[in-house]
Subunit: 244 residues, 2 copies
């Protein structure tokens, strides 16, 4: 069988997340339905990881096995023609049969968008986290350096998660401001459940002065979720790319 | 009676345009319904001008008369609390009773967003015009200068419009490219029906090579709609601000 790799963009607003589940519209099932229309086979796709309800992606990666004779790069247009407007394949290719979207992922890059203005923005309502309080961008900028490196990020994992090894390596973080829009980018070996959203929420709490920026390394060391900030909402989060 | 001025942002995707009409959701009627909940009066709002179905605004202006005692700047939050998420007031103030959003407008600024990539973008599907053909940005850049100044823009007016005086002054145009996003801004004394969308469509036709960039001034002089390019779709268009 041939192994096809896809790079996928989606607006997560109207989906119950990536992962298939009964009686809910999910990205995975919508993709599988469209691929089945193209290949006329029963298809199961393997995603690089789940995204939650409302979370977006510009570079989610998935693969599937098929006996179809369609050239790898042609799957893109073939699948797009039967996908709804809020999901699209940006790239497709045939890869080695050993390629596995999840097991082979070396890391991921996420982006979190914050819209900092007193008034809500109708145009960005599903695309950025609206924070009406004035944010101290300099203070947030000072804090982010503490995140880089290999740390036990247990304090930034949703309580109730059952993962045992909570050590992850963050390669890079960036914070950029463009008018009323603040963009946070984070790139790392892997992420715990809700980790990016809890880091984003903690940065917002630092920006509003609720948490001091010098306290971020202590929060990490404490390994206690209670010391970190709030969990920022899903609609500001984008899976930008998966590193292989 | 007191006269209240509003600056309004909206996502036009789910509306049948600004102007009230029977059996259709419109921006104007949705706003009036929300204002009535606040003032408990029958309210009619005056907009600076109509926007079509699917067109967005970041700075639409409207005014209305009221006997309410609410301070002008407080209307913003009061109205926002009963508006749907895709419309918001960004600013409100009490103005002189002689102020009229439409009659007093000295000009307008529009923005048109083009998304130039082969693949469609789920995240921008309602916010930018997807042009899959490669656009020659330099050629588009050369063309835009011809638009500036006072011209008879009849060639850029939707056929069937009944306006007699089709001379308008364009003060400024800007074309910017940021990755796959091309932003066109135009600022002028006034605009004919579909004028910005026809100019945007003509720029796209210049970018694809269908129309030569040196031909733009001849199109203007011809005063013939048939010589201009296609009408770009409404969802790339934003009313940015109204000049007084």
């Amino acid at each position: 069988m041939r192994n096809i790799k896809l790079i996928i963009e989606y607006d997560g607003t109207n989906y119950y997340g990536w992962q298939k589940q009964p009686h809910q519209a999910t990205i995975q099932e919508t993709l599988e339905d469209s691929i089945r229309k193209v290949t006329k086979e029963k298809i199961d796709i393997i995603g690089s990881g789940r995204t939650d309800k409302g979370v977006h992606a510009r570079g989610q990666v998935a693969n599937f096995f098929t006996d179809s004779k369609i050239p790898g790069e042609k799957f893109k247009d073939a699948i797009n023609s039967s996908l709804p407007e809020d999901i699209a394949i940006n790239y497709s290719e045939e890869v080695d049969s050993s390629f596995h979207s999840r097991y082979n992922a070396q890391g991921k890059e996420y982006r979190y968008l914050i819209y900092n203005r007193r008034e809500p923005s109708p145009l960005l309502r599903n695309l950025a986290y609206h924070v009406p309080q004035k944010l101290d961008y300099g203070s947030m900028q000072k804090a982010i350096g503490h995140i880089i490196g290999t740390h036990d990020f247990r304090a930034f994992m949703a309580s109730g998660s059952s993962v045992k090894d909570t050590t992850r390596t963050i390669y890079n973080v960036h914070l950029d401001k463009n008018g009323e829009l603040i963009e946070f980018r984070i790139n790392g070996s892997g992420f715990l459940y809700n980790m990016v959203r809890i880091i984003a929420g903690t940065l917002v709490d630092i920006g509003t002065g609720k948490i001091d920026n010098s306290y971020l390394s202590e929060i990490i060391l404490s390994k206690d979720r209670k010391n970190a900030g709030h969990t920022a909402p899903p609609h500001g989060l984008y899976l930008e790319r998966v590193l292989y």
